[in-house]
Amino acid sequence: MSDTLRFEIVSPERLLKDAQAAMVVVPGADGDFTALPQHAPMMSTIRPGVIEIYESEDAGPEKFFLKGGLAQISPEGLTILAEEVLQLDGINVDALNSDINEAVVAVEKASDDVERLAAEKELAWMTALSEVLN
């Protein structure tokens, strides 16, 4: 039995990461879950949140922010189809805060349900990100 798990993070633009890890903590839509080697096959949507990658059991995690996506655990490993991946340390907090304010206005101004849903979705990932940063 192997004690590492193969995982890939794929964004629409390219394959971001293809490596081995001891465990990966994924922000699933129904709560965080930890993918370990030999995990049973499953598929889950991802809510905006932080993915933590532990390369070995005692090493600190490598973190990325995911805007959403889909995680698929198959016998071969973990595949994350990410909508967008952000590096946590490269984020401008002020710009984010003003974006959040804009998004709040957009939600209020939305003229129908379709627009409101889109604006709320935008707002959701921004607030999730600012919670992570604070």
């Binding site: 629409p12 633009e13 390219r14 049973a40 096959p41 949507t45 698929q72 198959s74 595949t79």
Partner: protein, 296 residues
């Protein structure tokens, strides 16, 4: 008979044209490499997405209440034709070919009594479609500000298309673009965006493999599909535009290469004419001198 000076002017003008086309060819070649890389690195995502969808979709498709993005709106009355072309000209038959394919499709739809709406991505396609179908064009997306196409550039367009679908403004969406095969060959492609076409799962190893493992779905198959389908539309659109960008550069490179060669041929033939004329002039002058001397 053009004078020597005229010829000289023409030769130098053709020469400078040749320099321009040569430079454009070189620029297109380096842009092509970049566009091709972008198209290739976008492939893994689209492939994995397709795999997941094929497995999921096959299970859900026949159930009542399946997402309209998958099952369609139940009719085929209004079709949205998305025509992706380039922002710049001088790329041979690239835009014309795409527009020609789109026009043939539009005509077919109109003959069948259906309503057509056109969305242009890239203003070259708009310029060609405007003459015939101006009243059908609902919008034109200007991509001239975009240098390297990113997913974020495409997403707003996809969102707009999806919003229109949700408001029942059309039933079927088709995308026209040129698939990149090589710098010499671009294949005009017609792709259905909505409803999402599923790959045939029966003769597909990937789907078999997916069906073999028993997956646990969180939250549920339907919820995952609900999330995945709109994203798939955006990804397909993005992929189409990336292919299109690579094709455009390929077409431009080929067009500019042949333009450079044509200019070279023209310079050669003009130089021959120039030299002949020059010699004829010298001969004429000699004859005049000699016959003048003889007359004395």
């Amino acid at each position: 008979m053009p004078s020597l000076k005229d010829l000289k002017v023409r030769i130098s003008s053709v020469k400078s044209t040749q320099k321009i086309t040569k430079a454009m060819k070189m620029v297109a070649a380096s842009k092509l490499r970049r566009a091709q890389e972008a198209a290739e690195s976008a492939r893994p995502y689209a492939e994995r997405m397709e795999k997941v969808l094929a497995g999921l979709g096959a299970a859900v498709k026949d159930q009542p209440g399946a997402s309209p993005l998958l099952a369609g709106s139940g009719q085929h009355e209004v079709e949205l034709v998305v025509v992706a072309t380039s922002e710049r000209g001088l790329c041979g038959g690239f835009n014309t070919n795409i527009v020609k394919a789109a026009k043939a499709h539009i005509r077919e739809l109109i003959d069948a009594g259906k309503t057509v709406k056109i969305l242009c991505i890239g203003k070259k396609g708009f310029a060609q479609l405007r003459q015939e179908y101006k009243h059908l064009i609902i919008d034109t997306k200007d991509m001239s500000g975009v240098k390297n196409l990113a997913f974020a550039d495409v997403q707003p367009i996809a969102t707009e298309v999806l919003t229109m679908f949700e408001r029942a403004e059309f039933d079927v969406a088709t995308l026209f673009y040129a698939k990149f095969q090589s710098a010499l060959v671009q294949v005009n492609t017609k792709q259905q965006l909505i409803p999402v076409p599923l790959r045939e799962a029966a003769n597909d190893d990937d789907a078999d493999e997916l069906a073999g493992a028993i997956y646990e779905y969180e939250p549920s198959e339907e919820a995952i599909l609900e999330d995945l389908l709109p994203r798939n539309v955006a990804v397909q659109l993005y992929r189409g535009l990336l292919e299109n960008a690579a094709s455009e550069q390929g077409a431009r490179m080929t067009a500019m290469d042949s333009a450079t060669r044509n200019a070279g041929d023209m310079i050669d033939s003009l130089s021959i004419t120039y030299n002949r004329t020059r010699q004829a002039n010298i001969t004429k002058e000699l004859i005049e001198i000699i016959s003048g001397a003889e007359a004395l």
